[in-house]
């Protein structure tokens, strides 16, 4: 994997308009950048030719997509799902009612629990996810979906910070994460996280 060897896309230049308050705090602007970068990366993954213009709304800086064909779309999940449809890749939302619900559930999990969670909460989320992934390749089972993409984007800043010991503790999460970051066309705006293939610490230490 190459490090930091990426040209900013032409889309990114248009991305960071904030139609709301003129001076967002550092933290908030970080979050916006994240959400908007995510959408841009997703567009590129989906192979959408024409990058969209986004703005944000309200104190939480929720992304907004002005849509020519109808009312504006608001919210990361809504916009991301819309893009998937636009790219005619509906299978990324699941190809059965069950899968669709599971995909939606994980995306909702990402925006309601993972985003803005406390340090303590992070441990619980990782532990739960680790157990969930014990017998799964992807979040929705055996197929790669939008849930994997958005969870990967959302959890990246946490996994980056994990010590080797912790990565081994959350072995299934790390495996899944590594898998997704190597999935063609996903990583884009995020730096890769180094994952060791061999255990450093003996297993069953905790």
């Amino acid at each position: 994997m190459m490090l930091g060897n990426r040209q900013p896309s032409e889309a990114e230049g248009n991305l960071l308009q904030d139609s709301g308050n003129s001076k967002p705090s550092l933290l908030v602007s970080g979050v916006i950048k994240m959400a908007l970068r995510e959408l841009s990366s997703l567009e590129r993954f989906l192979g959408l030719k024409k990058p969209n213009k986004y703005s944000t709304q309200g104190g939480k800086k929720v992304p907004v997509l002005q849509n020519n064909n109808g009312p504006a779309l608001i919210g990361l999940v809504t916009i991301a799902s819309h893009l998937v449809h636009e790219a005619k890749r509906a299978e990324l939302l699941g190809d059965s009612a069950e899968q669709r619900a599971v995909v939606q559930q994980w995306i909702e999990h990402r925006i309601t629990r993972l985003d803005n969670c406390s340090k303590e909460e992070v441990k619980v989320i990782l532990k739960e996810l680790n157990q969930y992934l014990e017998d799964k390749v992807y979040l929705a089972g055996n197929i790669f979906t939008l849930a994997d993409i958005l969870m990967y984007y959302g959890i990246h800043h946490i996994v980056v910070e994990l010590a080797i010991l912790e990565k081994e503790r959350y072995l299934n999460v790390t495996r899944w994460f590594d898998h997704i970051q190597h999935y063609p066309g996903i990583r884009h705006h995020l730096p890769p996280v180094v994952v060791l293939r061999n255990r450093v610490y003996p297993s069953g230490h905790h």
């Binding site: 109808g70 999940v77 809504t78 799902s81 009612a97 069950e98 969670c117 340090k119 909460e121």
Partner: protein
Amino acid sequence: MKLYISEGNPHCIKALAVLELTGVKCDIEVISHEEKVVPHLSRPVSPVLLLPSGQHLFSPNSICQYLYDVSGQALTDATRQWLEWEATNLQPAVLQSLHMVALQGKRVEAAAVMKEPLNWLEQSLSKRSTAFLTAEVMSVADVVLWAALFPLLSDTSLKPADDECVMSVEEVEAAAQVWADGLRARSAVIERKHPILPQEGKRNVLLTSALPYVNNVPHLGNIIGCVLSADVFARYGRLRGWNLLFVCGTDEYGTATENKAREEGLTPQEICDKYHTIHASIYQWFQIDFDFFGRTTTERQTEIAQDIFWRLHERGFLLEDTVEQLRCESCQRFLADRFVEGVCPHCHYPEARGDQCDKCGRLINAVELRSPQCKVCKETPVIRSSKHLFLDLPKLEGELEQWLEKSISSGDWTANARHITRSWLRDGLKPRCITRDLRWGTPVPHQDFKEKVFYVWFDAPIGYLSITANYTDQWEKWWKNPQQVELYNFMAKDNVPFHSVVFPCSLLGAQDNYTLVNNLIATEYLNYEDTKFSKSRGVGVFGDMAKDTGIPSDVWRFYLLFLRPEAQDSAFSWADMAIKNNSELLNNLGNFINRAGMFVSKFFDGCVPEMLLNDDDKRLIAQVCWELKQYITLLDKVRIRDALKCILNISRHGNQYMQVNEPWKKIKGGDDDRRRAGTVTGVCVNVACLLSAVLEPYMPTVSHTIRAQLQAPPTCASAQLQGSGSFVCTLAAGHRIGTVSPLFQKLENEQIEALRKRFGGQQPEEECVEAKTQSSSSASVETKPGASQQNLNTDPERVKHLTSLVAEQGDKVRALKAQKVEKSVIVEEVAKLLELKKQLSLAEGKTPEPAAQKGKKK
């Protein structure tokens, strides 16, 4: 496929509603809150849908989405957007708001939290052209949003702050139309004719308040806890035209009476006679309008109690068992728990009582006491076994639970009543002894138990029936008539289990078609300043002293009802009483009513002027009408304290309206201005008349004074409180009013300070008045030792120092909260902050606000 739900969890509403709407076939299993269904989650959650593939859906929205999806309606951009908004914006606000309402009783704050999401929804809906959120038909988005809002919006008391009550043009016009209809064709005043009996086709309401224990003078907490609350509701019900009977009386049997008799050197009967009169006169002073105030030591009590006993006996609901008891040979009697003292078996405290040790607080079985002593003669009692009868509660448990489920779901039970009842059932019922080795009680008619009487808890609630029987021979029309009669029980929370579990079991077991409680209204406790009422320490105001304060009965009623401990304990405070009297009664209510009347007298010769309503007037009428409807909704649900706020809001609206329109200036202007002054004055005096109606349950004397001053027609109160409430022009143009005079007096600081000292208690810590279960006592269980003595002199340095500490600690807490630090850490820091604030207000010479209670204690 299987849906797991748990009781009382608002998220489950969504899943159940969608299941019903889509008609998808699915098993439902109710699980406990502790049960974990989803293997990978560390905390138990519900609802959970187990999919055919073995996967679990644990997000309520995904469950709804799935159920719609399998019935052919997959998500669209629009529905997905609403689900996302619900999960990220609405749901967090709803949860916070519910938490505030249910656990902290903060209704106003809870409504504020909902403002932003509700405004957003309102805006989106107003822009919409379709019948439902996303289309002409209902979608998953509608159900999810409806279910999320249901727990909050079904609670009618949660409303946005008053000034933001937005009314549509139609609503305003409709209110103006009703107003213009006036009093014509409205019901006449119904006179009360005794005996009141249930009538076909009427709403027949039987209302009881817990029977006060005779041997003590009731304190303010007792009064607000039962008789006063019940009285407000009774008066309200009568105004609403219900066929209502309100009975109460003194509970006279038991050890405590025998004890008191011995203390005062009288016979138990003499004690009862003496104190019954004291009680009756106190309630009369407080204007408690019983239809009948009786007592439990009557022939009818014996008849009815013995009848219920025999019926229970015949049906096999009584058990026999022997109990070891202490008997004093020199006094020739078995010693009740409070007649024996000895060394505590746990902590060796030498003066432990027979039921509990005052030092270590542990419950004691009297026979376990070391070196026991008879309290009367100081002799050592002996252990004797004695045969007793027990009510077989476990055998009645199933029937009880069935009945409870029905009663609680169809009637109004306060939250504390439901919780207490549930916790009793959860712990499992045990047989309860119904007999006592005493003389002063209803005799047990059984041959083998000749020397015994019924235990008060069995006997006392039967008092409701026997008191009614003393009121009318046809008492069974009330008490054996659950088809026609709706029963309300008012009490303080310590009385709940006897009314919700034990007494219903007696009646269910007796199998005689008894009327069982439909609505159980329990208050929390009222404290006195920052301590509890104590007769022996002379702390607190007791019923007989209230009239000696020179403060009118109506003002007492108002303040006690204003403080009514509905969701959490509250505290009586003299300073606060003065503030509420001076700000709410004098400046708000009294000022408005008096000015309205004075303008009619002064500017219009005592005749109500002609009223030509413009939009401003109509808007005021609509606002007042809205508050009136709110008042009725709340009082129908026995939310007495909240409804009182509606009254004060009405006069606040009135004051504002008067202030904006300035009739006293306009009257000096040209014809148009004078007409305007006339309209405004006319509308105001009619609002004053409505106030007299809504005040009647709370302040009957003031209410009648207002009506007399305005010469208002006698039907004006009942007419405006019918149905969902209608504010009408009761004083038409040309109506002549009487002489207007001020309604309230200012409470001066010196006067209040003197009263505070007088009732503050002279002696230091001593034994406190006990909250006896059957006494409907509202004394608080906790005391903060020495708290009442902490009246330090104000020290400016200390105040300054503490102020800066409070500010510092406040910043720290905010910072921690912003960082979302672990909850326990925050709780600890908040506790420090509260302690500092308390010290600060003490140093400032103020009474510290009682800390809001989080969570429910049992």
